[in-house]
């Protein structure tokens, strides 16, 4: 499983370097990372995350299979708990033999991540942890109990 979860902010240079080293001799022509960093907006002090790992692992493993079918590999790192302004909470990267597959995959993967991965975001504000409801997306198929 190339899914890495950490408590608190990600050590971005270390993770990118480790992933580079892991695939250095795998004969991939492209390594395309996406790094998500917490921005200062609306007076927040940072963000905080809850993750439900069993479903995240299944979701990720389905994507890994799709990548594999195209000769590519996906790696992903995400934070649990608090991540302050200008720190990073998310890295996704695709390695592929040629650039086009990786460029397309990183786009599709990050979009589906936003819509489907079982991770909940909270704003940190004046010591409070407030669910970012208006920025969240209902998972496809929601509402069957209503």
């Amino acid at each position: 499983m190339m899914l890495y979860l950490y408590d608190g902010a990600l050590n971005v240079p270390k993770i990118l370097e480790d992933w580079y080293a892991q695939e250095a001799t795998s004969n991939y022509g492209a390594y395309i990372p996406f790094v998500g960093t917490v921005r200062s907006e609306d007076g927040i002090d940072g963000l905080s995350f809850d993750i439900y790992e069993p479903i995240l692992e299944k979701w990720f493993s389905d994507w890994q299979e799709k990548a594999k079918a195209k000769g590519a590999v996906i790696k992903m790192a995400h934070s649990r708990g608090d991540v302050m302004l200008h720190e990073s909470s998310y890295i996704a990267a695709v390695f592929s033999p040629k650039r086009r597959v990786a460029l397309e995959f990183i786009d599709e993967f990050v979009e589906d991540f936003k819509a489907s991965a079982p991770i909940w975001k909270y704003d940190l504000r004046d010591g409070e942890r407030i669910y970012a409801k208006d920025r969240s997306t209902a998972i496809k198929g929601s509402g069957i109990l209503s």
Binding site: D50, F113, A138, I139, I144
Partner: protein, 73 residues
């Protein structure tokens, strides 16, 4: 018994219920005032697999999870 867990921001303790399908769970949660804001926008997983219909049989020991709207990254 079926264990029902509420994930992320739903501030509700897990329930242990004697139910045999998701329809029964829907009836119980629809009568729960704490759950009104969550039923419409939550997905449902049984034993960590998302399900798409409430016509779903449950057996003793199953685990149901409610997943409210997500926002990773």
């Amino acid at each position: 018994m079926v264990r029902v867990e509420f994930l992320g921001p739903i501030q509700k303790k897990p329930l242990e219920l004697d139910i045999t399908n998701l329809n029964e769970l829907a009836n119980i949660l629809q009568d729960d005032s704490e759950m009104q804001e969550w039923l419409e926008n939550s997905a449902v997983a049984v034993n960590d697999t998302l399900v798409s219909s409430r016509d779903f049989e449950l057996k003793d020991g199953d685990r149901v999870a409610l997943l409210p709207p997500v926002c990773g990254g």
